[in-house]
Symmetry: C2
């Protein structure tokens, strides 16, 4: 991975550059955030010619390090107006790494309505007119491109929502089965890709695990050991592989922090109907799969293959999606969740943002709470670009503004995901303080708050949450740079050999002598870069707060409020 | 004016308080901004229970000081999320002052859908159910209330847009003829009034000019002198009384700074068809009035009475309205402007924000540029609360977000009015730096830039604009506190006896010994209070900038860009 690809969408020019020394030790989020900070004017218009979109595989991507096939994409978010990194599995990260690219930078802006496909092969790079693919849904886009370039070609794409510049649009990626179901979901980067006129990126390489590694034996030993560490942990070795992420539904419901009816209570009476156990049952019954790897080489296999009643293969349903289209809108029908998820994958919307938006529209009375069919009909309007479809595609904050809703669960313009901050307060601290806008993956305190992984911090109390979130945010920023799935953290937090083994893989691969301190320093440096970008974009302390109603409304069943305010200013204090 | 009225809309409780000493010397904007800063948490939800809405007549309101019938309303804006003062003529200011109230504070929040009328008479204050008035348009609301309480009762009201909590909603006021055409237009304070469940305020007093004055003879002499100063100036004594504010259309067009087709050029070939001279002609031909006082005692009489082709009496068309519904959307038909204006008055929307929003929707291709009929049909959707109507009612910034438009002429979420900042750079400085969001009235540099009033500063050059805007913003904040119409500034800027005469009126009325320095200090102190509120609400330097396209696109015919950035941080530097 010694090349950097720069694509100017104004002039349609492609340039392959040598990776500058300052980026040599960076990958994934560390690299996307640094390039964005270096090259994008923080005050720029997110959908204008001065924003850039940066894709970067993680440092370990393209090797057989277990669960290392995650890629980052970065840019300035049209949803938050701050810096954004979104992270995705699927096949692309390993392919891009094996093609030798450390990063792909998309810049400039073509005339409106002009769309291209970027094709990367071992033979070179081409920018091709998208032709009839423009306007097509995600499933058809991936199918068409794989028919043309082969089933093994990885595809990164946007749907009509991204083409129509909707702030809730994600960037999709093909999974190993060719389903258009993996998403760099959050922050509206699909709209940025749309503004660049880039319909899809095709990554065509016969290799998956063949990125050069300096010390192969040492690397293989460490990789093998790391796989064992993952398989030995009850969450990464048993819970996730058995039921996927949606195993959380009943756990979070039991914990009383499952946001229900647009965050008005913490338990949903039909949680079990939309939980992981039920999901596995339906997957199996319909010839799908209850367990499935989102990318080759993942040992946690937390994904699944869901088949809709009419036989359409959806791809997977994740916990946060099941939550957004389930408890959050008081829907207890798994097939409605599947249908809403399918539409999002196809039209190209983030399911978390969209679930929260539907909750806000129900709060406004536009759709009745609990009416899944009405939600499906409303969501179908996104692809048609009707005014209601546009409002849904714009995300929860703008939808709330359009309807004058005051109970909008969002921070910095991005919707709060599936864990209520009042009774999972560590996550609340993360939502409020991460530069990313409300994001559970930025510092997933569910670990210590609920799952008792990496210690225990009472989720309903204030004590310890600041420190918990801070440490998790630092660790997460580092993990997001390796290409490892964030879920390895469950094992790493509990197993003292976890972190040394990750470091051993990095050292063996790059011939380095990193220590645990270096990893912490990397995490901190990423968070600082991101916070400084946001400060220059106009963010300050007032933006590091939760919405008013979390401070003023008690959440049943624990009847707790969120109270931390000034303390939040101490989270990123380095 | 020694009473302060506090109305709790949660508990439906009315309290008459004595004016605290610290507010004794404040009126109008000085008072609304200070009360908002003292009582409203800057980070609060603008449409939630913790925001407040404060009405205050100016210090000279309710006397026969010429053109002193302006009132301020303040609160946290749902459009900008910052502090807001909106200013209005019409009959209410004189009535409220004569009823003895220095300010009315509306606080709390009732259940959704519950609306009341606040009735103030010499006999006391009552909060009455709005009954069938809820949902009614502005014209019917005023007519119904005046049928009930007498033609002399002044009415402050919101239309359906405010009731539906639209961020572009204004607060209306009746004019001397009972037309629902005067507006505290900007910043969406109509939605705040809607969130308080307050449909209207009825001010019923037989008096108009009878507020107690300490030294009557001295006051009358000064008032008479001030009237003479106004009548002697070519703008306030001739231009405005002859053609109203829309006399500016041809002047601004000639100057090449008339924003046309959503700010893409500075001249409109049909400007004359929608200008003041034509307006006067149509008003006279249809039995309206080419010249008209918006409040009793105004000597400038810059308003008019426009009659629509079907005979409906609109009330007035102002320059900024004619611009927003004319050049900005490439419409050259005055009756279309009248119709759009009528709908805004009736449904309760700010015409500047709405004109800019229609321009943004045309930029997005939702409505064709120049298609006035389509604009009328779209605007009718606001009252119906359809998704498109909601988008229009939410204002230009949110509409731009929903449609992914990058050319949105707005600062701090509020639309830029009828003077392009690239070739009227002094106004550009004001738009960028006022705490109010883009607002021409916050520091109207058109004076020295275009009209050569108060000196001359080349509108296309950077030199002198910072100082010009700063001085105008200070002076304006002071004028907005007196109840005098801002237009008195034309005369005050040119006539060295202007300011001393205003001070003489204040001193005679209150038994004070204010100097010119005190007036400047008052203006500065207001701007500081407002800026500090915004800082606590999260605003910083990055918010004091114009949208990207003003820096990157040249405006014909002068082919100039806006270039000031860091210099803008020096405007409010005291």
């Amino acid at each position: 991975m010694d090349k950097l690809l720069r694509v100017d969408m104004t002039a349609k020019k492609i340039k392959v550059e040598t990776v500058p020394e300052k980026y040599a030790a960076l990958g994934g989020r560390a690299l996307t955030s640094q390039i964005v900070a270096d090259e994008v004017e923080p005050a720029c218009e997110p959908l204008g010619p001065f924003n850039k979109l940066v894709f970067a595989p993680g440092l370990l991507s393209g090797t057989n390090a277990p669960s290392s096939g995650r890629m980052s994409v970065g840019g300035k978010s049209p949803l938050t107006s701050g810096i954004k990194e979104a992270n995705c599995g699927g096949v692309p990260s390993q392919k891009l790494a094996n093609l030798g690219y450390k990063a792909v930078i998309i810049e400039g802006k073509p005339a409106a309505g002009e769309f291209h496909i970027l094709k990367l092969t071992e033979g070179g790079v081409e920018l091709l007119p998208a032709g009839g693919l423009a306007g097509r849904g995600g499933y058809e886009t991936v199918r068409t491109l794989q028919e043309k370039y082969g089933k093994k070609a990885a595809v990164i794409f946007i749907g009509p929502a991204g083409e129509m510049l909707m702030a809730g649009a994600g960037i999709g990626a093909s999974d190993p089965e060719g389903n258009a179901c993996r998403y760099f979901g959050r922050g509206g980067l699909g709209a940025v890709m749309g503004s660049k006129g880039l319909k899809a990126i095709v990554l065509d390489s016969p290799k998956t695990f063949d990125v050069p590694v300096k010390d192969k034996d040492r690397f293989q030993a460490a990789a093998k050991k790391f796989a064992r560490i993952l398989l030995d942990h009850p969450v990464t070795g048993q819970g996730l592989p058995a039921y996927g992420t949606n195993v959380l539904m009943n756990i979070i419901n039991e914990a009383g922090t499952l946001p229900t009816r647009n965050f008005s209570r913490g338990r949903f009476e039909k949680a079990n109907d939309v939980g992981g156990e039920k999901l596995a049952e339906v997957c199996n019954a319909r010839g799908g799969k209850a367990t499935h790897a989102c990318h080759p080489g993942c040992v946690m296999r937390c994904s699944n293959i869901y088949i809709l009643p009419d036989g359409r293969e959806l791809g997977k349903i994740e916990y946060e999606t099941a939550w957004g289209f389930g408890p959050n809108i008081e829907n207890g029908d798994m097939d409605i969740i599947g249908e809403l998820n399918y539409i999002c994958n196809d039209v190209g919307l983030d399911t978390i943002e969209t679930g929260a938006t539907l909750g806000v529209l129900m709060e406004a009375g536009v759709i009745p709470f609990g009416d899944g069919r009405a939600a499906v009909e409303a969501l179908k309007e996104v692809g048609r670009g009707t005014p209601l479809g546009r409002i849904i595609g714009a995300g929860a904050t703008f939808a709330g503004k359009v309807y004058g809703v005051t109970r909008v669960p969002a921070v910095k313009g991005q919707a709060i995901p599936a864990y209520d901050p009042r009774s999972c307060k560590g996550n609340g601290v993360t939502y409020a303080t991460t530069a990313m806008g409300a994001d559970h993956t930025a510092g997933y305190a569910v670990t210590a708050n609920i799952l008792k992984v990496g210690g225990y911090v009472d989720p309903t109390k204030e004590e310890g949450q600041i420190e918990l979130s801070r440490n998790l945010q630092i660790a997460t920023a580092a993990v997001d740079s390796t290409g490892l799935c964030l879920f390895v953290a469950f094992a790493v937090l509990d197993n003292p050999e976890g972190l040394p083994t990750v470091i051993e893989m990095l050292n063996a691969m790059y011939g380095l002598s990193l220590t645990a301190d270096d990893v912490v320093a990397l995490g901190k440096s990423i968070l600082k870069v991101e916070k400084e970008f946001n400060a220059r974009a106009g963010f300050g302390k007032a933006d590091d707060r939760l919405p008013e109603f979390f401070y003023n409304e008690e959440l049943p069943p624990h009847n707790t409020r969120f109270v931390l305010k000034k303390e939040l200013d101490e989270v990123i204090n380095f």
